[in-house]
Symmetry: C2
Subunit: 202 residues, 2 copies
């Protein structure tokens, strides 16, 4: 549950979670099968269930490890720093997460779409608390006239929406931007920086 003991346990748990991430993010929870995950992991199906009690247990293990990583950039926003710089850094880090961890983003999006049956508690607990706290920081910055006035929580929503879009709707982005396999992220980074700079500057 907490820390596997032997090296084999550690390695196989990691291999299974990596394979499960690949399959779950591509097909959703219901669409993924244990056989697929086992094949990707290079293990037999009963062997999977030797390490995790059930398909759901694998899914939960993935999700619970995910939310923390996902919120780290928001946590890193420093109330003592320069407001615009802090927010732009947050946007940049979040966009990097979308680029480097797009499977995690899609896994998370899948869970949200289904109504978050497995992490609702975390959303209404840790997530809500962190957002409310950081919204307070944003509000203070606005009251000090250091960034423009707006609804701080919706401001955070817009960072999430704009960055995650490039991971979750990757197919659409690629389809629209053309068949040339050009990486859309550099352009996106430039675009989002100008967007938030114009939005925030008082």
């Amino acid at each position: 549950m907490t820390k596997p003991r032997t090296r084999i346990q550690q390695r196989n748990s990691d291999v299974i979670l990596e394979a499960a991430l690949e399959v779950f993010s591509a097909h959703g929870f219901r669409g993924a099968t244990l056989d697929q995950i086992a094949a990707v992991a290079g293990l037999s199906k009963p062997n999977l269930l030797y390490y995790f009690a059930s398909k759901e247990a694998i899914h939960v293990a993935l999700l619970s490890g995910l939310l923390d990583t996902w919120l780290d950039p928001l946590r890193a926003m420093d109330p003592e720093g320069d407001p615009v710089a802090e927010l732009l850094a947050y946007v940049r880090r979040k966009l990097e997460l979308s680029r480097d961890y797009s499977r995690e983003s899609r896994l998370f999006a899948n869970e949200m779409l289904q109504g978050a049956p497995r992490i609702r508690a975390a959303l209404e607990g840790d997530l809500r608390d962190l957002v409310q706290q950081k919204a307070g920081v944003l509000q203070a910055w606005m009251d000090q006239g250091r960034i423009a006035h707006m609804h701080p929580v919706h401001l955070i929503f817009s960072v999430w929406a704009l960055t995650q879009h490039y991971a979750d709707f990757e197919v659409q982005v690629q389809a629209v931007l053309g068949s040339d396999g050009a990486d859309p992220y550099p352009e996106a980074a430039v675009y989002l920086e100008t967007l938030f700079r114009r939005l925030l500057t008082p």
Copy 2:
């Protein structure tokens, strides 16, 4: 295929599509079962398959009807109108779609997450063409100095991302904004209007 003939066919087709939308949007294609859809529709499973050849046929029928409706507000953007007003109207209409057709939005998002296996062609065809055309309009407005300069396609992406977020991540929005069942859409409308107004004004 095109138009059902009898009144019974028309009514039952509609009932099935409505039920399928409910179930598919909540559980995804693979997560939905014909029995669930039949139960919601108030019909028997074989009766469903009397009207649609397969589970996939129902899904395709839903999706193909959807993309057009979804793009209507973008199509309605008038090159002859006032640029900022046209774009703000587009944002407002798109946000209304998210509010009034959130199930459709989630159905679409589900399809995107899976890599759009059933509508990739439409994305690379009609959708791409329309976006490129409207991007041209936006570019002209920028060249005339009527709105600020930025990447026009990413500007469209940001409209999609920001509006659809409220439908697709509804649980998260509700969880963060608190348990009071307050409607987040009025606030969202205000926020998005100020965001795009500041972004676009030259």
